[in-house]
């Protein structure tokens, strides 16, 4: 459970407050599954849970997309290539992609919630024949807040792939969709009967998305969500990440939606 020192290889600015950085996987890397997270440390400042946003097909490097929202994430995003951070993990339950072979994959992401879903996209693209359509709906606050814009644009040209993006507010130079992420569903082409949906974003957004998915004829049993809670240990000992009967760190962060939908609707649970 001790962190391992890992060297930062590259840092890339995504938005005003969000950076993607790549570190050498400790010990050459033991691999990770899409949807898992690590505990990242800046020694002397603290530790925070951060989703892995890189390609599971490249286990020798770990990629994280970090938004600066507190002291630890602020310290993380100011690391420069060559500097060291502490890494523990990977931890947690992943998107059950192996079990979803043969299905269309619908990914719904909001804001920084795209980060833990990007490995799922890489995974499906590496095994394209194993899956049907790949549909990605992504909402961000504004065009300046969108992650991975070039990559999303590149993916949109792939066959059987639909990438739809939206922003809550756009300026005159934004010719894309404006409206909350649920307003994209009317343009998404997927067969509800043979689709599995993977959802990550702010909890309130996920609640609206779950409702929308049900309206579109999807069964909750085909829907997975990634939850966020305060975490200190990532292995179920610190008690911080409890969500009713679940520990988000070890029972999640990815949950079947049917297991947590009721809990998500309970205020201040």
């Amino acid at each position: 459970m001790l962190p391992q020192a890992s060297r930062v290889i590259a840092v890339e600015r995504e938005t005003r407050d969000t950076f993607t950085f790549t570190v050498a996987a400790p010990g050459g890397g033991s691999g990770f599954a899409p949807g898992q997270f690590s505990m990242l440390s800046v020694f002397g400042v603290g530790e925070a849970p951060i989703s892995i946003s890189g390609d599971p097909g490249e286990p020798d490097r770990l990629v994280y997309t970090v938004r600066s929202v507190g002291p630890v994430t602020q310290a993380l995003v100011t690391r420069r290539p060559g500097e060291w951070i502490g890494v523990r993990g990977p931890f947690g339950a992943s998107w059950p992609l192996a079990a979803l072979r043969g299905k269309d994959i619908l990914i719904v992401a909001g804001g920084i919630g795209l980060a833990p879903l990007r490995p799922a996209v890489y995974y499906v693209l590496r095994r394209r024949g194993d899956y049907g359509r790949l549909v990605l709906l992504y909402g961000a606050r504004s065009p300046q807040d969108m992650l991975y814009r070039k990559q999303l644009s590149a993916w949109s040209y792939l066959p059987d792939t639909q990438i739809l993006t939206t922003v809550d507010y756009g300026g005159l130079s934004w010719r894309g969709h404006v409206g909350v992420v649920t307003t994209l569903f009317r343009y998404a082409r997927f067969d509800a009967q043979r689709t599995a949906a993977l959802v990550c974003g702010p909890e309130v957004m996920m609640r609206f998305v779950l409702r929308e998915l049900e309206t579109r004829g999807m069964a909750l049993s085909d829907v997975y969500v990634s939850m966020e809670r305060n975490m200190k240990c990532a292995v179920g000992f610190c008690g911080h990440c409890q969500l009713g009967p679940h520990f988000v760190c070890k029972d999640g962060p990815v949950f079947p939606a049917a297991r947590v939908k009721r809990l998500m609707e309970r205020y201040e649970l």
Binding site: R141, Y169, G171, V178, G179, F208
Partner: protein
Amino acid sequence: MKIPDVLETLRHLPFVKNFEPDQIEKLAVLAHEGRFERDQIIFREGDASSFFYLIVSGKVALEVTALGRTLRVQTLGDGEALGWSSLLVSEGKHFQARALTAVRALVFDGARLREACEQDPAFGYRLMRAVFEVLAQRLQAMRIQLLDLYSPASARA
């Protein structure tokens, strides 16, 4: 566009999914086709409301200017309704609408629609139900938008 073509187009729009066939015909009679070029302003904020639109194809952005900066607050696409305020008397347009792409739409004169509703309350009820659904969806979407979901709570409070 001839009335039979308008009728055919109208029939395929989700807006009329709960209309009786004769009610769809009644609506079709009131419509004419409109075409807008990319970047054309369809209406401006404050315009005395006159037209109601059902978008057949293309994208329309609703815009508002605040502090010298124009923001796009919503985009509407195929099958969506635009300009609902024309169904109310003496309401100016709340936003500016701009075609983001070439747009084809069915255009209805608001005053004539209101008149038809008054004369045939069953038709009027059906139409208002459909508009009400549109408004409910817009209101829900707007509420979610207001939550400013993607900002940290601290920046919102």
